[in-house]
Symmetry: C2
Amino acid sequence: MNHPLSIPLLVPDLPTATEVLPYLQRIEQARWYTNFGPLVREFEQSLLNQFTQVQAGEWYLTTVSNGTLGLELALQVLNLPKGARVLIPALTFVATATAVIRAGCQPVLADIDPDSWLLTPDLALIAWQRQPYHAVMPVATFGCPQEVEAWESFFARTGVPVVIDAAGAFGNQQVGKNILTVFSLHATKALGIGEGGFIIGGNQHLIAAIRELSNFGISKQAHFVTQVGTNAKMSELHAAVGLAALARWSQKQQRYRQLYRDYLTILCRACPQIILQNKPIEGIYPVLPICLPNGQNGQTVATYLAFQGIETRRWYCPPIFEHSAFAQVPWSDSLETVRHLAGRLLGLPFHLFMTTADIEQVGMELNRAIQEPGVMNCG
Amino acid sequence: MNHPLSIPLLVPDLPTATEVLPYLQRIEQARWYTNFGPLVREFEQSLLNQFTQVQAGEWYLTTVSNGTLGLELALQVLNLPKGARVLIPALTFVATATAVIRAGCQPVLADIDPDSWLLTPDLALIAWQRQPYHAVMPVATFGCPQEVEAWESFFARTGVPVVIDAAGAFGNQQVGKNILTVFSLHATKALGIGEGGFIIGGNQHLIAAIRELSNFGISKQAHFVTQVGTNAKMSELHAAVGLAALARWSQKQQRYRQLYRDYLTILCRACPQIILQNKPIEGIYPVLPICLPNGQNGQTVATYLAFQGIETRRWYCPPIFEHSAFAQVPWSDSLETVRHLAGRLLGLPFHLFMTTADIEQVGMELNRAIQEPGVMNCG
């Protein structure tokens, strides 16, 4: 029963110890290990420079110890009324929902677009016209970028603040002046540093306030606590990994793009029945989720593939509303698309150590599982 | 005016890059960077072994990304009623208070013992008899250990859960079976790893639940979210520093003990008027706070010392009740001792790179500031 996994789901490709070493030596020399040290500040500037639309002096960025705390603080800084309703998609990682609740708000679940699998500005507008909410937190699900201009228009029209949960979308997601965009740098992300994240936006006051909240809420000017913050500071150590990761980011981007193109070509030939998320072919994606054809079950196929030594994961199944912690969370509509898709989603192995032969094998076994359901009883 | 500081307040003594390197190589080989990886698990076991009273199998420990999140989750796991009253000392770092509020509770400020500067079990009992509260979070202030047996008795008598904020007391603070004890491993602590912390106790269920809360609340058994958690996981990178730090911890403990003994000897000779916190002479302390004689002002002395190139910090002034974020926090009594002491407390330079000459100079200048207030106008 314990077939050794020959094709693992994720294999992080972080900087080597040798690549990180010069940055560790800098930390050692400065003897400054956290609390907005020189490496964190340099890493923040380097991250800012990654956003091509960014002009110096008009955009602001602050790092955090992880993306989840970034979402919590981005919501907190909006100063929404206690129990404020925050629209989120029902198909997302659980941290989207936990962050809303920990920020003292109430998540409201929205449906997703059947092609992009995203909560789009159009869907958010329909939900808002049905029943207003205080903020919206769309997700760049599976790395698929949200349309920033459309969200800016949504904000201009409704006045509802927008926080984009772009946890898995660094490299794809553009940023908006009137939007807070939160990225994760978790080990499993395209730009992984272990644990980490950052928030970027055009509002200097909000970003500065998030920075203070990440340092207990201590006001930089007065050295007094004016807002109740926590410790969400990125350490110099993680900034060291981040600087080493950025040093080879452009090369890594190319490898990710190539992998995604090659993978799709092989997959669409080997197993044309599967349904793919509609997103830019030139993107940099940390994962490869597919949707099985109607009538297929994600768990059955996952079990079959595991027997063939292929690791998969059923992101994001169960969807948010099936977790007992979110049983009381209201829905903005019937969530028809999420309910229709969730059970058929499957994350395939996707990482920079995969060979063409690995991808061929995934495609072949996936096709076998779908074409000949009988084979799945052989385990 | 910008006198270069010749005697800095704190100089962290963390493992060198060379010492950390073998652990980074282990991470690189495993390609496992966070989410309870092998180094975190080894570090947790090694931390457990540091507590001499600990018997295998009866004590439990889980790491967190920092001590503040450790306090938040330790309070959350108690499942206190919403808005529950939690007694804390009025003299402590602000994170003690922010953690209570972020855990959905209401801090209630208590006074401290005039000798140990701690909220003691006796003071907590008096406050409880005056008006009951739901939990108490005493602090091992400035590294001074809390008396665990007395807190166990307090718990046995009142049934009020006890969480010890032992942020700065690793090496001194004993742990209790029926108590949750939270340590910080921040760079400025005796065992510093950059950012980090852990919680230890005798209740397997509570520690396991904190571990789940630090991973979004995802239940290990069911893979469902049953409690609303956050991301408070320690990365493998910080565990690497932790393992390297523990490898020379026994040597570092000796150096800290020696420093404290030598410092006290010099200080008591050079400036016998100062008042010291009553705590074990054989302790391992991350900081050296003193209390100035009655009538003296901490800020005035700090300013004078800064002109002499001696960096100090006024821990914990202003006390909790003077921060605007805590203006509504109720007091359990008049907080007489805190109000009497806070303005006179001063943290002196204290770190393993200090020479005997440095300490002599601190003592001499401190004495000058106290003996001859006139000299303080010379700036």
